[in-house]
Amino acid sequence: MGYLRQKSILLAATVAFVAVMAGCGGGNAGNGSELKGQQEQSSGSVAPAKESVTITMEVGQALKEVAPHAFSQANIDEFEKQTNVKVKVIIDPDNQVKNVLQTKLSTSETPDIVVFNKVSGENELNTANYMLDLSGEPWVRRLTNPDALKAPDGNIYGFVMQSPLDAQAIVYNKAIFQELGLSVPTSYDEFLAVCEKIKQAGIAPIFAPFKDRWTFQIWTAGPFGYVATKEKPSLWADINAGTTKFSEVPEFEEILTKGLQLVERGYISPSALSDDYNMAPDAFMKKKAAMMIMGDWFVSDMKVKDPSIELGLFPVPAFNGKDLMISQSQITGMLHIPKAAKYPEEAKMFLDFLSQKEQMDRAQSDQPFMPSVNDASAPSLTPLQQEIYDTYIKTNKAVVEMNAFMKVDLTELWKYYQDMIAGGKTPKQVLEAWDEKFAELMSAANQPGF
């Protein structure tokens, strides 16, 4: 009885707290008038329309899967109920989303919210030019790590619900490792030995979907990041200033060469350039392959497809005698508001609404994530997420991938990696060709120093 009473007091306190939060945060208030006050306070002009307004939120199909939290239907329904503003999601095919958004931004026919990865947006959508500066929004001061959201110019152009909790690493089948008596390798030499044993057991050591261009770079992500974080802290800045070239970094060539060796030694099938990501589940389910250079998302995918397979992760072992680190991606799925949006105030309301504790917590039920604001509940992470957090993030064994520091699109580099695997370029030639292309792209992007 006492317990129940305690619980109901707690509940009442929570409700009160939420009401207060709503009052000062704005956005999720129970009625329109408070909202209106909030809006007038912050912008001084446009009040939300009295009749029903529909804001649009545009995203590529894959990104919506990778960063699903902002699309939680329960949150969208609640927003519509509270504000009478409807939210319509536009999903573009992946191969078109960049062109569609660029075109729409440059012709001012934009949606009200553009969902795009942070750095990619800066490089490909010219965020600073086309998007509203949201640095003054109420949720900014509640961010756990506001610096992570800042663009190179120091402004914040978008909101994101989740802090990174991903890991680019080697995924392996625990059962196969057990059967063959293998342990997780901690150096390149150990890794080669593990591959050799698996190969001799008649299983392909590594399934590599190199037909998808973005896949080989995962081999480089952690090791490159290690070099740039631990050994040459000014590396990315120097490269972006044009004072260091990719081909002048011997570690890069070494890392590429080691990756290529996996193909040359037959640990990666020569057919890898024909294989794509969609074929991976089949290869793992039929135990045709033991490992893949991929990331946590593949482990989650497989959990859905075949829960009986137990997969684990370890960092890309491209070095001997150095710390091995997982790599984390740039901020994914950032919500930007274009300057040309039809309903910018309603879009801001929506972002603020999502940043509130209830919405943060509600979105957890679809797929747990690390909240980006400091007043949301701590998530109950999946065992895999917990492992990533405990083993790598808490212990500082995670680096941010190179892509997050680049000011140009890297697709061309990835094509050179494919060339290298096909035997058309040596690692050195890859880096030299990329230096040339990089300079071209940097100069097309009006970057100083090029």
């Binding site: 573009d92 095919p93 992946d94 078109q96 569609v100 026919e109 089949d282 995918d301």
Partner: protein
Amino acid sequence: MSLIRKRAPLLLLEAVMLLLSLTVIVPFLIMIFGSLKTGLEATAFDLTLPVKWMWQNYKQAIVEGDMVRSFVNGAVITCAAVALNIVTTSMAAFIIARKNTRLSGFLYYFFFIGMIAPMQLIPTIRLFQSIELYGTYLSVILIYCSINMAFSIFLYTGFIRTTIPQALDEAAVLEGASLVRLFFGVVFPLLKPINLTILIIVFMNIWNDINIPLFFLSDPDKWTLPLSVYQFFGMFSGSSWNLVFANLVLTALPIIVLYLFCQRYIVSGLTAGAVK
């Protein structure tokens, strides 16, 4: 004896052709079987019969892909654009075919540019913004109609020149028919084979297109059928290939029906327009 000698090569030919047709049928079967498998089974992309025939995939694809609405959108846009295309280009081609002047020669080449010049997206968007039609069904109908004009005029001109005798026009005019009456009353009905040919080819071009709605219809509720397939790529972590296949089969279905309906005209229509 001579009958057998005559029939034997034909039977052999028939056997060879049937065998050859397998190269066409097999890929189609992969798609159709795939649409009736479970999601897991369909990831193999192979030529095996479904373990269990999942007819409900089709229902799921229709409901989750909101295919009814996009079917209606596609039908409205495609039919309007095709109708507008056929009426305007057949009229234009009639004159271009009949007149033998410099101007008609110029017009023939001028319209042909549409077959070889790439469409300029951003200038086209700006155009529709300036006449305040951007984002409307009408803008998309006008675009589809225009970008397919070259092909239609190309075929119509050839057809009219080679198969519709000019004496016919003269007779009609002698009877007091106006030019418009002459064209719609006398010439247009004679164009039936080529009309149906152009109908199916232009219909197919528009029906299968995904680019124009993506760039010109900012409201996804106005999108057409082929775009609905993207709902199933990557949905629920990883793609639902069985639903992707079901969606693709359903998207192709209207064209297959239309094609079967027009088949005999297609052959004779293309002949007459181009050939002879």
